[in-house]
């Protein structure tokens, strides 16, 4: 079910992997012995050429992943969250170089997840990775954990590793830099629940105000929740497409303090 889109009158050509292919990747390549060669064979078996991505973009994506693996230094799961934070802006910049048609197609993101980011997924979501290989951390729910791995590879939402890195940088970047991606007091739950999973991520001035407030207050997960609910209610009643950071900072500070 994979294809390389090439409709001359409509969109540019770019590599794609269907969701079912990602599930097949987990069920076969991940479960058996995975390696760069095995991934390359899998991608090739889906009719995607080895030069489907521009060589400069290909090299930069591979470099980001190599540096991530090197810096992880055998740490896994939550302990490498700071690394995910650190590489967000580079992932954002390299992906912004692709055509909008590709970025707006989750099957392109599926390809990115499998072709480039599988090593990051293996490190960052190691529990799910192990479950997919038949060694679940929670043996009572092996199917549940195994299925989670696909979610980190399929580009449908903010669970997928490259997409969530891209979204995080997009939400809080300031020009070419995104120091707010790496705030102390952030953490997986804060970013996922209060920034990326909600529409806050689509209003950078609101997201930046919120992240700056959390950087200052460093609320625990439990203390974040009631404040986040207030932010969500506020957001439901307003449209922030025309706001600047200064318009929202005081309001968010008042709620988050």
């Amino acid at each position: 079910m994979s294809s390389s889109t090439n409709t001359a009158t409509s969109v540019n050509s770019y590599p794609r992997l269907a969701d079912v292919d990602v599930h097949a990747f987990v069920d076969t390549v991940v479960q058996n012995e995975i390696s760069d060669q095995a991934v390359a064979r899998f991608i090739s078996s889906k009719g995607i050429a080895s030069d489907a991505i521009d060589s400069a973009q290909d090299s930069e994506l591979r470099r980001i992943v190599e540096e991530f693996v090197r810096d992880a230094d055998e740490e896994v799961d939550q302990s490498v969250e700071p690394l995910e934070a650190k590489f967000c802006i580079r992932v954002f910049h390299i992906l912004e170089g692709f055509a909008p048609e590709a970025l707006g197609d989750r099957e392109f993101w599926n390809f990115l997840g499998v072709q480039y980011f599988w090593k990051v997924v293996k490190i960052r979501q190691n529990a799910a990775w192990n479950a997919a290989r038949g060694e679940p951390n929670d043996p009572s729910r092996p199917e549940h954990e195994r299925q989670k791995l696909s979610r980190y590879l399929i580009g449908k939402d903010h669970y997928q590793i490259p997409l969530r890195m891209y979204l995080r940088a997009q939400a809080v970047r300031e020009g070419d830099e995104a120091p707010l991606c790496e705030i102390e007091g952030g953490g997986t739950d804060f970013w996922r629940s209060h920034v990326l999973a909600v529409i806050t991520a689509s209003y950078p001035p609101l997201a930046r105000s919120l992240v700056r407030a959390q950087q200052r207050e460093k609320h625990s997960i439990d203390d974040q929740r009631p404040r986040a609910r207030q932010i969500n209610r506020l957001r439901v009643n307003a449209e922030y497409a025309l706001h600047e950071d200064d318009d929202l900072a005081d309001l968010v500070d008042e709620i988050w303090s």
Partner: protein
């Protein structure tokens, strides 16, 4: 399920204007041709090449193919003639004056945005003060996207696979000064006063079609040999409240033999088995039961807002249907789902009865 009392709109807004937007507003690609005669209504559009699917009203979907998504101009219409426009704009002006006090140039703008849910990206297509909007020479017809070359097209309209949510709303264009503020009225910049939304997509097909349950499927999911239907959610319940297209998250399996028997058609279009409609209806209710159970387990239900027009979620659609069926607000319908899901399901059953095809039942 937890109970929660919330005030989602803690202030007065433009209720009549919003109701009129619901009735009159339409989005169309390509735009209404200049040789259209308004007095002929929709019938006058067909000879001009405007087909079903290329027009959408509030909460509807504009279904285009990829080429048209990438190329067509898009028009936004407040009715179909000058009389519609006069009624609409007069109502909006009256409500704005009532809400904010009379003034030649009220701090209200018409804002038209498009939004890509997955990429969390938003673009402003139109931002015009109410005064200019009211005085605009083109009256009821607005061209919001030109038929432009690819590089000039709004970025989100170069993403046919994802599609966009188009939102039309009146918002406060600035914070009101202290003396201008009234108790129970909005004062913050961005507060929306009336809104409508339309989905624009190039995705073919909607709704959830049943998939044959083969022996391999039974084995894969540990189902019994006599199992007839099985709604399978790929990733469990998490995030199901936010889903727009059910086929992204679920497959509905039906025993292969029974599926053929009860959905097959004769050459004249009627069902092979006369009991087909009733059986399909029961299958659909089985799906809804499983869906609402999954919704109840989704942590996202707590903060789910049925009025958030950024999200044309499947759940928001069902909540709206239930609200309409028993004449309550969407917030109240959502509370019924949380507190008395069996009542909610019973109302869904009432609302869906009479629908003929499975994919329309689950749509």
């Amino acid at each position: 399920m937890s109970s929660e009392t919330r005030v989602l709109r803690p202030f007065d807004a433009l209720e009549k204007t919003e109701a009129l937007m619901s009735q009159m507003l339409r989005v169309q690609a390509p735009p209404i041709p200049s040789n259209f005669h308004p007095e002929e209504g929709n019938q006058g559009l067909a000879p001009l090449g405007v087909s079903i699917g290329s027009i959408a009203a509030n909460r509807g979907t504009l279904n285009l193919d990829e080429v048209r998504f990438l190329n067509d101009a898009i028009g936004l219409y407040f009715g179909l003639n000058d009389a519609d426009w006069d009624h609409f704009i007069g109502t909006a002006r009256g409500e704005i004056n009532g809400l904010l006090g009379p003034g030649h140039d009220p701090p209200v703008s018409l804002l038209v945005t498009i939004y890509n849910t997955r990429l969390r990206q938003r673009e402003v297509l139109l931002n015009v003060s109410f005064r200019d909007f009211e005085a605009s020479a083109d009256k009821w017809r607005k061209l919001i996207v030109k038929a432009t070359a690819r590089g000039d097209r709004p970025r989100l309209l170069r993403m046919p696979k994802d599609g966009v949510m188009l939102r039309v709303q009146f918002v406060l264009s600035r914070d009101l000064d202290q003396p201008e503020r009234r108790l129970g009225s909005p004062w913050r910049k961005g507060s929306w006063l009336a809104r409508a939304s339309v989905k624009i997509t190039a995705k073919a097909g909607r709704g959830l079609q049943p998939t044959p349950m083969t022996p391999e499927i039974r084995s894969r999911y540990g189902l019994g040999e006599k199992t007839v239907v099985y709604p399978h959610f790929f990733d469990g319940a998490a995030g199901i409240c936010e889903v727009e297209d059910l086929s992204d998250v679920a497959t509905f399996y039906v025993d292969e033999e029974l599926l053929n028997e009860f959905t097959g058609h004769k050459p004249d279009g009627s069902l092979v088995n006369p009991a087909g409609l009733a059986v399909q209806f029961q299958w659909a209710m089985t799906f809804y039961r499983a869906f609402f159970a999954a919704v109840g387990r989704d942590p996202g239900l707590e903060s789910f807002d049925p009025l958030d027009a950024d999200r044309h979620t499947f759940l928001a659609g069902v909540v709206a249907d239930v609200a309409k069926e028993i004449n309550v607000s969407p917030e109240e319908a959502l509370n019924i789902l949380k507190e008395r899901p069996e009542q909610f399901l019973a109302v869904v059953e009432s609302e869906k009865r009479g629908t003929e095809y499975f994919h329309e039942l689950i749509n």
